[in-house]
Every structure is written in structure tokens, then in C-alpha cells.
Symmetry: C2
Subunit: 321 residues, 2 copies
């Protein structure tokens, strides 16, 4: 069960439509640190420490941490974990890393080896732009199909003994490649992976989309969400605007052109779920939510080598008990 969650949001995320739902709002995205990577690492550690604080637990009472971020070699997460002295598993599924962490965490809980697991992720606009596209100093114009990498960090405490929201089921995705090569168009690269996991999930459990009060993709953005709806329609799955939404669309005001198709980044699904959806599950607005985290598996090396962009998507069904 989910015992507690935390969400620390960057300046843009804090002034977006969900700003007041987050635990902490930052007014600066460097906060006096020497690099954006070091700042992201500190944010990541802060999200975990805030969770310990909220739940009145010591690091020694946590059996396991699982997490990741977008930086090469999980720079932010690994450096954050130095400060925690808790056994740690690092994972990478790009922006789907939060879903991946929760699935592995829930499985460790189920095997009865652990009682308390923390899942955490982070991302930062400035570390991601430099790493996957161009250094910000170049002033490269933003493409209309692009998304804005979310700055923030969040953590979730899974607890065998405590909580009102349980992880009811999950579907691990396959790597899907539809041949997209545009490093600005993550939504198009990820939508087929989201569809693959959504349809595998529904068919494995013999469910209709309407089984859920909400189906929420991680960070497809406006255009990617439209592509997912199109793929679903072509395959006779009905996911209309009433039960389907996307964290990337929810986190920013996407009528503002400068935000492109909306948010992306590992922190996007983490902030929206931890800050907003989790509270909506607790206050009984929703009973069953399917979170489909989505990740584009490109690297700067693969892009420069003119490779297409594979993607993956991991889904988790949350249910109020």
C-alpha cells in the first residue's frame, strides 16, 4: 500500500495549473548550486528526506530504495543515495522510470522480503536539454512538437502494513520502435509504447477502459495523447476525454505556445501522481486509476548515429481499499 508521497516542483511547475498541490514549490532552479546536475541530485535527496520526515521514519527503518532519473548513469539518483545509507536499486526507463520503480518495489513487498520501500525519481529541464538535445546557451529555437522537461523530484513510500491505496496490478512493457527519429517529438515516439502496454494490460486482465475512473499516461503531451487516442480508436478501444488524461498535459498550461505539447521528464508523472492524483484517490474522487508511465529510450549517441527512437511504457493500477 502507499503510505505517503512527496512532490517538490520547480518554478514553472509551481506556477502551472497543479502548482498548489505540490508539497514544495521552488522559486529558482539552481538554488546556488554549481551545476544543474548537483541541484537535481539535492532535490532528489530532499524528496526522500521529506518523505522520511512526513512519516516520522529514520533511514534505518527503510528496507530498500528504488529509483532513477534522466541523467547519464543516473547521476542525480546515485549521488542522492550517497546521503541516505539505504540499500538501493537503480533503474532506467527514461520518463517511465517511476512506474518501473513502483512495479519492482511492489514485487519486493509481495515477496515478503521487505516491509518499507521508497520509490523516487527526478528530472530537470536544464540537465535534460543539454544531455539529449542542445546546451541552453546555444539558444536553439524550440520546435512546436517539443515538450518541456519537468523540473522536480518526488518519492513514494510503499508499506506492507499501512495505507489506503493499494497497487492492484501492473503490466511491464515491451520495447516498441515505430521509426520516429525527431528528438523533439517524444510524444510520437512514445504513444505506440503506451498503446502496446495499455492493450496488453486490458487484455491480460480482461477489462474495458471503463473499469478505471481514470487512465493517465505519463508524458505523451497533447500531440502524443491524440496519437494514443487514435491508436486506441483504430483498435476498438474507447478512451475518451472523460476517463483519459496525460500528466504532461495536466502539469502545464498548454494553451501557452512556449510550453509546446506540455510537460515531459521522469518527474512529470511523479509530480502529477504524487501531488495531485494520490490526493484525489484519498479524497474519493477516484477509486481506480491506471497510471501508464512512458519513456523514450534515445541517447545523444543513438541520435547522432541517426538511429530511430525506441520507447517503453510500464502501467500500474492503483485502487482505494
Amino acid at each position: 500500500m502507499i503510505d505517503a508521497t512527496t512532490s517538490i516542483a520547480g518554478p514553472k511547475e509551481s506556477t502551472g495549473p497543479l502548482g498548489h498541490y505540490f508539497d514544495k514549490n521552488l522559486n529558482d532552479d539552481l538554488l546556488g548550486q554549481k551545476s544543474y546536475e548537483i541541484l537535481e541530485s539535492k532535490l532528489h535527496a530532499s524528496a526522500v528526506l521529506l518523505l522520511l520526515n512526513k512519516t516520522n521514519l529514520k533511514p534505518s527503518e527503510i528496507d530498500l530504495c528504488i529509483g532513477g532519473d534522466l541523467n547519464n548513469e543516473l547521476y542525480a539518483t546515485n549521488f542522492a543515495m550517497r546521503e541516505l545509507n539505504i540499500p538501493f536499486l537503480g533503474v532506467y526507463a527514461a520518463c517511465a522510470s517511476y512506474g518501473l520503480s513502483i512495479i519492482i518495489g511492489a514485487n519486493f513487498i509481495e515477496s515478503n522480503h521487505v516491509q518499507r520501500v521508497i520509490c523516487s525519481t527526478s528530472s530537470h529541464f536544464s540537465t535534460a536539454e543539454r544531455q539529449f538535445r542542445f546546451p541552453l546557451e546555444l539558444g536553439t529555437p524550440r520546435a512546436p512538437q517539443s515538450q518541456w522537461t519537468t523540473t522536480g523530484a518526488g518519492a513514494m513510500l510503499l508499506n506492507t502494513l499501512k495505507g489506503n491505496i493499494r497497487i492492484e496490478s501492473a503490466t511491464i512493457g515491451k520495447v516498441v520502435d515505430f521509426g520516429v527519429k525527431d528528438v523533439n517529438d517524444m510524444g510520437a515516439a512514445m504513444a505506440p509504447a503506451a498503446f502496446s502496454t495499455l492493450s496488453a494490460h486490458l487484455s491480460a486482465l480482461n477489462r474495458n477502459p471503463s473499469y478505471y475512473d481514470l487512465i493517465l499516461t505519463g508524458d505523451l503531451g497533447k500531440r502524443g495523447a491524440d496519437l494514443l487516442k487514435l491508436l486506441a480508436k483504430k483498435n476498438n478501444l474507447k478512451i475518451d476525454g472523460k476517463i483519459y488524461s496525460d500528466c504532461g498535459v495536466l502539469i502545464f498550461n498548454t494553451t501557452n505556445d512556449s510550453m509546446g505539447q506540455g510537460g515531459s521528464g521522469t518527474a512529470c508523472a511523479t509530480l502529477v501522481f504524487n501531488g495531485y492524483i494520490y490526493k484525489k484517490l484519498l479524497d474519493k474522487s477516484y477509486r481506480r486509476v491506471l497510471l501508464i508511465t512512458t519513456g523514450a529510450l534515445l541517447s545523444k549517441t543513438s541520435s547522432l548515429q541517426n538511429q530511430t527512437i525506441p520507447a517503453i511504457s510500464h502501467a500500474i493500477a492503483f485502487e482505494r481499499i
Copy 2:
């Protein structure tokens, strides 16, 4: 239980002391591909396909793949998984990724959600040197404390129903940072992490080192292995040359100065375990082996930002039934 393993070794690894133990020996490390990354990705896929071939299984009969490599964003593993159409979990613990994959895989088996899991890793000298240190074209002289990143790939099939070697226990490591900054000296960065996990493992299970027929670290190299022995001695743990060895020392002829301190890379522990130790467990030379995989969690960005090198180590106890 371990149903089967595969090992595909690069040219240097194939002419080393364990060369004849590997399933496949390559005589070239590019094999006509356009880049070393694409070659590594093909090697990774080949190791999994060879495993399916050995066990006469179809991809649809595998429930889950878990794996990783050293490339940014798991380039080799993610691109290999495109060809397999099997649910996939990506992990990153640098050269400790094989241990990490096996621990998560064994846990999924234990929770009874899956029957067959494949764990796979790869690494390549030329992709790793470019990414973590310098492009080979620069001709940078090798430092005497450096290790040689292993070229190769391997995979292991965990099966609920079949096999003679079981995963008896495991210890997930913590991120440890002893302040090493030299990107050539991975052994010194990783030895404290290996000691942390070894002592946590022995104390959690109330065992002495002599409980095992063999304690094998992943890729500390000659110097790192000496440091581990020193740390153990200072803490009254006796791991002498009789029961302790290191995959990095075993895979190359380390009396040859050009090989520095021996092998490293994610494939190092994978090749040595899959190709050599697994056979020694099967032929009853060993009954109980503790494999302590070791990973240095640096990135080029963290090194250029003058950060120290955190490390992690994950241990697995294998036992013949």
C-alpha cells in the same frame, strides 16, 4: 534456479585464460557494424537469442527480461530488446548491473508472478572508453592503475521449474563514496562498496567467509582486490587467496602490463560467471559461491564537474542443490 547461461566474448577475452570456456569467441570487435554501440547492441541480442536456442524456447515463453549495460541510457540493451518482444525492465548499477538484474529476477520468480526470466548484460571496450574517458582516436596512454573494459555479452535463464543451481540469498548494496576522483582507478572506488556489501551479507546471515567455497568480486582488478583484502583484514574478516578471487583478475593475463589491473565492465562478471563459474558449480568443483558484483557510478559529466566517484555492490549467493 538457473536453467542455462550464455557467454559471447570479444577477441581479447577469447584469447585470455578463460577463452575456451565461453560459448562464442569473436575474432573482431566491430564485425562490420557502423558503430561499436550498434555492435554491442547486436551482441547483447545474440546472447539472449543463443539462450533461447540452447533451451529450445520461443520469446513468447519468456515472461520477463531484465538487463543493462554501461552505455548512456542503456543504448545497447534497449536497442537489443526491440528485437525480442518480451516485457523488459532496464536497470543501471554500472558493472554491478548483472547482480542487480539477477536479484530483481529472482524476486519476481519468488513472488510467483513469472516462471521464466532472462537476465542479460553487455559491455564493450570501445564504447566505454569513449563514454567514460577519452575517444580511442586520441591515443591517450593507459594509466598503470587502469582496467580493461571487457567486450562481450551474456544471459542467464532463471526458471521456477528447472535447474541445479539455486539463488540461495542476496544482499542489495548501498551507495558508498570514499572520495576517489581518478577515473582510471575504478578498483579503489569500488573496493569499499564491495566490502560494505560483503560484511552486510555475512552479518545478516550470520556466516563466516569460509561458508562459501568461493567469494568472487565482479571487477575490482588486482589492486582493488588487494584493497578489499586489506579492508577485510582490518575488520577481522579472513578472505585469503584460497576462497577469494576477482573476475577482473581471472579474465585477462594480468602479468601482461598492457592489461593494467585486469578486466572491468558489466560483461566481466557476466562472462566469468556464465562461462566459467557456472560450469564449476555444475561439475561439483564448487557448491556455494558468493558473487559480489561491483559498480563505479561515475558519469563523464560528474567527472568533468570534479565530483568523487560513488560505487555500489550487489551480492548473490549461488548454491548447488
